[in-house]
Symmetry: C2
Subunit: 402 residues, 2 copies
C-alpha cells in the first residue's frame, strides 16, 4: 500500500479554503493586492464599511449636525452601544462592556477600582511575562493607593495567590509566544482566595471565545485595533461583571460617568451600571470607525473563528517544520488549545527573516532579540495565503542560515 | 449738532466685516448655509481639510500601509507633533505640549503628578464654579493619594492659597458666564506659597492669548474640540512647563511613555521630556483630523483672534441691550477684558429662547436653569452674523416675555 501523502501543498490549502465557513467573510475587508498580512495581531485590516462611515460622521454628522450630533446622531450613547456590540464576541452580557480611553488607562481604572473596594488587601498579582504596559499601568495604579504589584513567574501564579491579593491581573494570550493562560482555572483560583480576576484581552478578543460570563471573570480590558479591526489607536473596551458594578467606584471620575451630567452638579454621583466607568467626552470619529468595523463580525460565530484560527496555526507550524531550517524553531505552544491566534518562531537572525518575508509581501513582526511573530486573523486570511507565507518564511530563514 | 447715531445696524456690522483681518479665514471652514453657529465653544465647525485628511488616513494609511503606518506615516510621533502645533496658540514652547486622552484623564494625570511630587502638601485647591468634570477628576486624583480637594468660592481663592496647597487647579474661562480668571495673578499667588498652578484651557485655547510661558504657568490641560475645531471627542492636550518635566512622574504610566517602548522592558523608565506623560496607543484617526483642523490657524495671530472675539462679544451685548426685553439680562462680565469668547444671557424661559433662536438658524446652547450661552469663534463668524443672531435672540426673548 502506498503511504498517504500528508505533506502540505498549495492544493491541499486551497481545498480547505473551498470548505471554509468564513471564506465568504473575506470580502468584508479591503485587502491590498499581493499582500499576505500576518500582523492582524498588531493592527487589523480595514473593513469595507469604514471609509463610508468615517466620511459620513465627518461630513454629514460633524459638518452639518454640529453640536446636535450628540443627541441626534447617537454620539452620547456610543461608548455603551459599542460595548454591547463587543460583548457577545467576548462572552459578556449587555451593559457589561464600555468602549473608551486606551487599554492602559482602562487597566489603571479597573485595578484602582479593585484596590479601593478591597481596602484590606494591598497586593495586585501579575506574571512577569505580562505585556509591559500592563505591568507599568498596574504598578502605577497600585503605587497611587500605597499598594504593591507582586510580579511572579507564570508557573508560580497559583501559589502566589493569597488573601493579600485584591486582584490578579493577567493578559490572556502572551504577546511574545501566543501562549494562553488558563482563564477559567486562574479565575477560580483567584476567587478561592477572595481576589478578583482581571484579564487583558488585547490578543484574544475577536480571535477566540473568551467566555467572560461563563467563567465568572470579574474585570477585563482590551484594545479594539487588533482582531476587532477598529483602526490605529482605536479606543479600548472595559468589562465589569454586572454583579460587581455597584460595588466598584471609578477612580478616574469625569462628567460623562455622572448620573445626570447635564445637571452640572458639583457633587459626584456615579451613573448606574457600566456608564460610571466612563470619564470624559468619547472620541466619536474613532468610535464610528469601530462601529463600522464590527459589522465584519455580523453573523459570525466566535467558535467558527477559533476553529479556523487553530487550523491556520497548525498549517503554519507544520509547513515550517517541513520546510524550515533547523535554526527556525517554534516558540509557541504546539498544542492549538494552549495557543492564541499567533505563532512565534525563534531564529538567530529573526529581524532579517521578518524583513526578507516582508520583501516578498508577507507581513509579520519582529520582537527583539530573536522572535518572529505571525498572527492569524481568520476573518480575512485564507489557508492558501498562510501556506504561501510559511513557504516564504522557511525559504527566507534557510537562506539566512547558510 | 445732530447726535451721532451709535446704534448697531446690519450695515455697520458689514462695514466691520469689510475691514476684518480674519475675513479671509472663513473659507477654511465648511459652513452649512443659513446657519449662524454660536456654539463653537461646545463643538467647533468642520475645517475644510478634514474630510480629505480622514479619507487619506483611513484608505491610504491604515488601508494600505497597515502596521507600517506607525513608522512610515508619522503616527508614532503624532502626540508630540500635534502638541508642538498647539503650543504657539497657548503660548507654550516646543516639547511642552502633548495630545492624548481626554481632558479629565489628563487633569487626573497632572493633579496626581503634582501631589506625588509635593508629598508634604495634601491639598488641591479649586473654585466651586469650576467645570464639574474638573471637580470630579481632581477630587478623584486627590482621593487616590489620600489628599483633599479644597473647594472655595472664586473670591476666596487668594485667601485659600496656603502652604498645604500642592496645586491650584482652575478653569481659565468659566463655562457658565464666560468670566476670565486672572491667570497671571493666580499663578503668581500660587507660586508665592510654593504651590503649582494648573489651568484648564478648554474655553480659552484658540480663543485668546493664554501666555502659559510668559506667566510661568506650571501645568495645563484642555480639549481640542471647541475653538481648536478637532471634531467631536477629539483628544485633549496637556502642558507641563519644561523646567518641571524632570520632577514629575506620570501617575498613569503606559508603554508609549517609556524611554524605549520597543525594548518591552519590565522596568518602567520614563521617556525624557513631555513624552513621559503619554500612556498608551494614541487615536490616529482623531489625531489626523485634528492635524488638518489646526491648518485653520496657519498664519493667524492669536492676538488678532482675541481682538475680533472681543468686538463680536461687545456687538452682541450692545444689540441685546438695545433690542432685548428687560427680562433678558447679560450674565457675563460686560468688560471684554474680563470675559472669554462667549456671552451668556439670563432669561426666565432661557431654554425656550435658545430653541426659538435655533428654529431661525441661530445655534447657541441652554444651561439649566436660566442661562443661554453664545460662543464667538472668530475664525468663522462674521460681524453680520452676530448682529443677526442678537436681533433674533432679542426678538425670541421679547415674544416669550409677553
Amino acid at each position: 500500500m502506498p503511504a498517504v501523502d500528508t505533506a502540505w501543498s498549495i492544493e491541499r490549502a486551497r481545498a480547505l479554503d473551498d470548505e471554509d465557513a468564513l471564506g465568504g467573510i473575506r470580502h468584508r475587508f479591503l485587502r491590498p493586492d499581493g499582500l499576505v498580512y500576518l500582523d492582524g495581531n498588531s493592527l487589523g485590516m480595514l473593513p469595507t464599511g469604514v471609509p463610508e462611515a468615517t466620511r459620513r460622521v465627518v461630513e454629514e454628522e460633524w459638518g452639518r449636525a454640529l453640536i446636535s450630533g450628540w443627541t441626534e446622531c447617537g454620539w452620547m450613547e456610543a461608548p455603551e452601544r459599542l460595548g454591547d456590540r463587543i460583548a457577545p464576541i467576548i462572552g459578556a452580557g449587555p451593559g457589561e462592556v464600555l468602549v473608551a480611553d486606551t487599554t492602559s488607562v482602562a487597566l489603571a481604572k479597573l485595578v484602582g477600582a479593585a484596590l479601593a473596594a478591597r481596602r484590606d488587601r494591598r497586593v495586585v498579582l501579575t506574571s512577569a511575562d505580562n505585556f509591559p504596559s500592563d505591568l507599568y499601568a498596574a504598578a502605577g495604579a497600585a503605587r497611587l493607593q500605597g499598594a504593591e504589584l507582586r510580579v511572579v513567574d507564570r508557573s508560580e501564579l497559583p501559589a502566589a495567590l493569597d488573601e493579600d491579593v485584591a486582584v490578579c491581573c493577567l493578559t490572556q494570550v502572551d504577546f511574545r509566544t501566543g501562549e494562553l493562560h488558563d482563564l477559567p482555572g486562574l479565575t477560580a483560583a483567584a476567587h478561592e482566595v477572595g481576589a478578583l480576576a482581571l484579564f487583558d484581552l488585547c490578543h484574544s478578543a475577536g480571535a477566540l471565545p473568551v467566555g467572560l460570563g461563563e467563567h465568572g471573570v470579574d474585570l477585563a480590558v482590551g484594545c479594539t485595533y487588533k482582531y476587532l479591526n477598529g483602526g490605529p489607536g482605536s479606543p479600548s473596551f472595559l468589562y465589569v461583571r454586572e454583579g460587581l458594578q455597584g460595588e466598584l467606584e471609578n477612580p478616574l471620575p469625569g462628567w460623562l460617568g455622572h448620573e445626570t451630567p447635564f445637571d452640572f452638579d458639583r457633587r459626584w454621583r456615579p451613573a448606574e451600571g457600566i456608564r460610571r466607568f466612563l470619564t470624559s467626552t468619547p472620541p466619536i470619529l474613532a468610535l464610528t470607525a469601530l462601529d463600522a468595523a464590527l459589522d465584519a463580525f455580523e453573523g459570525v460565530s466566535i467558535d467558527t473563528v477559533r476553529a479556523k484560527s487553530e487550523r491556520l496555526g497548525q498549517l503554519f507550524i507544520e509547513v515550517i517544520d517541513d520546510l524550515g531550517p533547523a535554526s527556525l524553531t517554534v516558540a509557541s505552544p504546539r498544542e492549538a488549545a494552549r495557543r492564541g491566534s499567533q505563532v512565534s518562531l525563534e531564529h538567530p537572525r529573526a529581524g532579517e527573516v521578518v524583513a526578507a518575508a516582508a520583501d516578498k509581501g508577507v507581513v509579520g513582526d519582529f520582537r527583539s532579540p530573536g522572535l518572529c511573530r505571525f498572527g492569524f486573523a481568520p476573518l480575512y486570511l485564507s489557508y492558501a495565503e498562510v501556506f504561501q507565507a510559511a513557504e516564504l518564511v522557511s525559504a527566507a530563514a534557510t537562506s539566512l542560515s547558510d
